[in-house]
């Protein structure tokens, strides 16, 4: 069965479900309204007092067509994205940490490949995501394993009341085509939303050497990405609700090779994530029960690795009094990985986490959060992880608000199943990596018109796992000790002048992340910056809205990055300029949005990973039609 047929069947399947639920749920409409969804940022900040948390501006990913999660993070934050070529594996590095040191959360579930301990952000379609929040710094006490450098939290919002349909089609350079369809129906009893994407690209951009010499077109880097979304919420009386979220993406990519060293490798990824969430509202609290099933598959050159995760989580939120809020919870994850790379082709692991959080507000100016977590896992012991965050309102006058905040937290990352069970070399005696992080920041805001966020931090990661050459094969061990320090800065300004609205904002991070202990004789890496951690990374944005026109100018800057641990070789820094324009027309219940993007407008020749070509100037044109009633 061809990919296209599979996709069509999938799309129609979703449609059938939609119609069925639509008929059963909405045949008769009556009485009460759904409670307003709480904004997820509140869930993050509720027990995250003192931390640097940002919600990415949805203006960055709405209205301009298809984007991946990695694009959006590169546009909207100072967090560094490491990408192995155009449309290829993209990982995120918070505060100078590695790809496995970020926890990716989807509707409250930790997603990503459990055998790799990391996620590929280029495969997460923004079409299906409504909100992206970034939490910088260690927060394992709240999010468990992997939240060493930071957390990327993805969530969906309930669709607006009524019926809606949305169709988005764009075409672009390198034979790129992106299609997206979404339907929703929301009423007093609940809601349903189904969506489907079909994205493909030949991705045969022109390759240039680092001298700018033309090397022809990129071969073997084409990709398909298809996916489906199903979300449904159902109100059980006025105090309880049930929410189902299901998201499937199927990617088929030829893996882009290094310039001048052509290889032909193919990888197919499938990520099928589902969650069923029951919520019960009480007079002074809330009870949440979540069941999640995550199926992830990587098919690398026909070698297939599957992982199945069953996650059950229960939390009880209790508003003890106006100045004290608490949450208790338990979470179990049963993991099974099936792969030819392990002995007897399979490995299992069970992790159970117990956690408690409290936020206290002893005075009007002071707020503090305490989080505690203990995880119990099969095969290794996990350290107890606490965190303490405090914020202090220094000054408030008219619209101005000055707030000091600080946090001390522990983080950990458990060894991946590949680290433990890979044949040959897997090391079953590995311990989790541990981190301690301290930070101090100040927020200065003037209403919605001006905001500043400055954070300085220092962190240490111990027992960092590295695969090392053991002669006959490679084996991982807890060897590296890393110290990171840096500054993160965010400044924004918004102005409304009649029909003109302008918004300026910039993000910048200075990161110094160094290996602090020698590991072998003649070790020249001590005190050196970790590879692929830029000292300087940031972006500046201007957004203009006039009548129904919208213009976004995005400039990105990434400084030089070292390729090797002894800092002998480096990849040059680069600056990119991206332009996006859209015009919206609406009549009655219809809206039409036409958009055009110019990426890498200055045609800069750059590389994020040494020797992996990236595209020069490229274009995307699209149209988005929606009907809402």
């Amino acid at each position: 069965m061809s990919r296209k047929t599979t996709h069509l069947i999938f799309t129609f399947g979703l449609l059938a479900v939609f119609i069925f639920v639509h008929i059963t749920l909405f045949a008769q409409e009556n009485t009460t309204q759904l409670d307003e969804v709480e904004i997820t940022a509140n869930q993050l900040t509720r027990f995250g007092v003192g931390a640097y948390i940002t919600e990415l501006d949805s203006g960055l990913f709405e209205n301009y067509g298809r984007q991946s999660l990695s694009d959006v993070i590169a546009y909207g934050s100072s967090v560094y994205i490491k990408q192995y070529g155009s449309g290829q594996l993209a990982t995120v590095s918070f505060r100078g940490t590695g790809a496995g040191h970020t926890s990716l959360q989807w509707n409250g579930l930790p997603v990503g490949y459990p055998f790799l301990g990391q996620a590929d952000l280029s495969l997460v379609p923004m079409e299906f995501i409504d909100q992206v929040c970034l939490m910088h710094g260690s927060s394992s006490a709240r999010y468990g394993s992997g939240a060493v450098g930071g957390v990327v939290d993805l969530s969906n919002e309930e669709p607006p009341e009524g019926f809606g349909i949305l169709v988005d089609q764009s075409v672009g350079s390198f034979s790129t085509s992106n299609s997206f369809v979404q339907l929703h129906q929301a009423g007093p009893k609940g809601y349903i939303r189904v969506g489907s994407i079909y994205n493909r690209s030949e991705n045969d951009f022109k390759v240039r050497s680092s001298n700018g010499e033309s090397l022809g077109r990129q071969a073997n880097a084409n990709y398909f990405l298809t996916g489906g979304l199903l979300e449904a919420g159902y109100n059980l009386g006025s105090t309880s609700s049930l929410t189902l979220s299901f998201q499937n993406t199927d990617a088929n990519r030829n893996l882009q090779s290094s310039i001048g060293a052509p290889t032909s490798n193919n990888q197919k990824d499938r990520n099928m994530w589902s969650s069923l969430h029951f919520k019960h509202q009480m007079a002074k609290g809330e009870f949440n029960l979540t069941y999640g099933h995550l199926f992830d598959r990587i098919n690398y050159n026909s070698s297939v690795t599957d992982s199945h995760q069953n996650i059950a989580q229960a939390t009880l939120l209790y508003d003890v009094s106006g100045w004290l809020e608490m949450e208790l919870g338990i979470n179990s994850n049963w993991i099974r990985v099936v792969t030819p790379n392990y002995e007897s082709n399979e490995a299992r692991e069970t992790r159970t986490d117990m956690f408690a959080s409290a936020t206290i507000r002893p005075t009007k100016r002071v707020e503090a959060s305490i989080n505690l977590r203990q995880s119990v896992a099969t095969g290794y012991s996990v350290p107890f992880t606490p965190s303490l965050g405090i914020s202090y309102l220094l000054h408030r006058k008219e619209n101005w608000k000055f707030m000091l905040r600080g946090q001390v937290s522990k983080g950990y990352r458990v060894p991946t199943l590949n680290d433990r069970f890979w044949v040959p070399g897997g090391n079953p005696d590995l311990n989790p990596e541990e981190s301690v992080s301290t930070e101090l920041g100040i927020n200065i805001d003037k209403g919605q018109g001006f905001w500043t966020n400055i954070t300085t931090y220092q962190m240490w990661v111990d027992n960092w796992i590295l695969w090392q050459d053991q002669g006959a094969f490679w084996s991982p061990d807890n060897v590296l000790k890393v110290e990171g320090k840096g500054v993160e800065l965010e400044i924004g300004y918004r102005q409304n002048a009649g029909r003109w609205q302008t918004k300026y904002w910039l993000n910048y991070a200075y990161t110094k992340s160094t290996n602090i202990e020698p590991r072998y004789a003649y070790d020249r890496t001590v005190g050196k910056q970790l590879p692929y951690v830029p000292f300087h990374n940031g972006n500046a944005n201007i957004q203009l809205a006039f009548k129904n026109w919208n213009l976004l100018l995005n400039g990105q800057f990434t400084g030089k990055r070292f390729i090797t641990t002894d800092n002998v070789t480096e990849v040059s820094g680069y600056a990119l300029l991206n332009l996006r324009v859209s015009k919206q027309l609406s009549w009655d219940h219809w809206a039409m949005n036409a958009y055009g993007n110019i990426n890498n407008a200055t045609n800069t020749n750059y590389q994020t990973i040494s020797n992996r070509a990236m595209p020069g100037i490229n274009f995307l044109l699209g149209i988005n039609i929606s009907f809402n009633k």
Partner: protein, 345 residues
């Protein structure tokens, strides 16, 4: 004042540029010295050829980049010098980058007719390149061959089917010898007919050759757990002697006179070592000349200084120089996975 300064600066610049011109006279900057093959890391294809000048201790980490302004990517197994050309063999991109031997200026790329090329030798005016060919589903190498290269136009003009995993290549007299490392065979090839004319059966999978001062060919064999050395008599095509050595055999070379054979073993879970024997030896010594961890390449120069290439995992490697009694002289940084040396004096 400013104007004076600018005139002064211009004069200074002129003087400096004049000086520079005088220094840059032929032969090229890489005419004499030690070349280091840095394989590079598989996922980054960042192999390089390093250069070390023992006279003044100068190290150039990437001679190709220095000469051409940008690096050439690949996973470099070896480099072969012939007359005024050097051939950089990239097993990942299945190509050979040809550069001028003394300047490393780019000349040509051979990318047709190669499949995981490993080593090269020259005989009868032609290049002979061992090629593993693709792995099959059992990680075996049933499609190995030697590609014959016309050195005037850099085209592959012929292929010779060999036994599995053809690896080390050498020329002695008017014959080419090829080690089929995934079998137990050393092929003898006639460079006139480009045909296999004979062979040796070795005690293990043959990897590399070293010719001693008496015209005998030593071959290093490795069967993953056990290793052995064999001495080949080329005139009657017989294995004269062979004996077991430490596990994980990796490199072999001789001193300048060919009276001593040096070889390196990297056994599992015990320290790696470099051993030395006379060219008349019939058994292996118990005590190494030197030992350490992560030893990955071996070279001996004409003053019998031992060069060790040490791999530091995915970190850049280290080159350590030892006197022949195993005392460390000095060390300097290399690229990733440095696996061998070529001495050009």
């Amino acid at each position: 004042m400013l104007r004076h300064l600018s005139i002064y600066l211009m004069a200074l610049a002129f003087a400096l540029s004049a000086c520079k011109k005088n220094e840059e006279t032929p032969p090229g900057q890489f005419a004499h010295g030690v070349f280091i093959v840095n394989e590079g890391n598989y996922t980054d294809a960042d192999g390089s050829i390093g250069f070390y000048d023992p006279e003044d201790g100068m190290v150039v980490q990437d001679a190709y980049e220095k000469a051409n302004g940008e690096p050439v990517s690949g996973l470099f197994q070896s480099i072969y010098f012939n007359e005024d050309m050097a051939y950089i063999i990239d097993q990942l991109g299945s190509k050979i980058v040809v550069v001028k031997a003394e300047t490393f200026e780019y000349v040509a790329t051979i990318d047709e007719g190669l499949s995981t090329p490993r080593y090269m030798t020259v005989a009868n005016g032609k290049g002979y390149v061992s090629n593993w060919g693709p792995f099959d589903e059992n990680f075996d190498l049933p499609n190995s061959y030697i590609a014959v290269v016309d050195l005037s136009n850099f085209n592959v003009i012929n292929t010779i089917i060999t036994d599995k995993g053809v690896e080390g290549m050498t020329t002695v007299g008017d014959k080419v010898y090829a080690a089929a490392s995934y079998s137990n065979v050393v092929h003898v090839i006639s460079p006139q007919a480009d045909e296999i004319t004979g062979g040796f059966t070795t005690p293990g999978g043959p990897l590399q050759f070293a010719e001693d001062g008496t015209g005998k060919l030593w071959v290093l064999c490795n069967d993953f757990v056990t290793s052995s050395l064999a001495r080949l008599n080329l005139s009657n095509e017989l294995v004269e002697t062979s004996f077991s050595i430490a596990g994980g055999a990796k490199s072999i070379t001789t001193n300048a006179a060919g009276t001593k054979i040096y070889y390196m073993c990297t056994p599992w879970q015990t320290p790696d070592g470099v051993y030395s024997i006379d060219n008349t030896a019939t058994f292996a010594p118990l005590v190494p000349v030197l030992s350490g961890d992560g030893l990955y390449g071996l070279g001996v120069d004409s003053d019998e200084i031992i060069y060790i290439a040490k791999s530091n995992g995915t970190d850049n490697g280290t080159i350590i120089r030892y006197t022949l009694d195993g005392t460390e002289m000095d060390n300097f940084a290399a690229g990733r996975f440095p696996n061998g040396f070529v001495f050009r004096e």
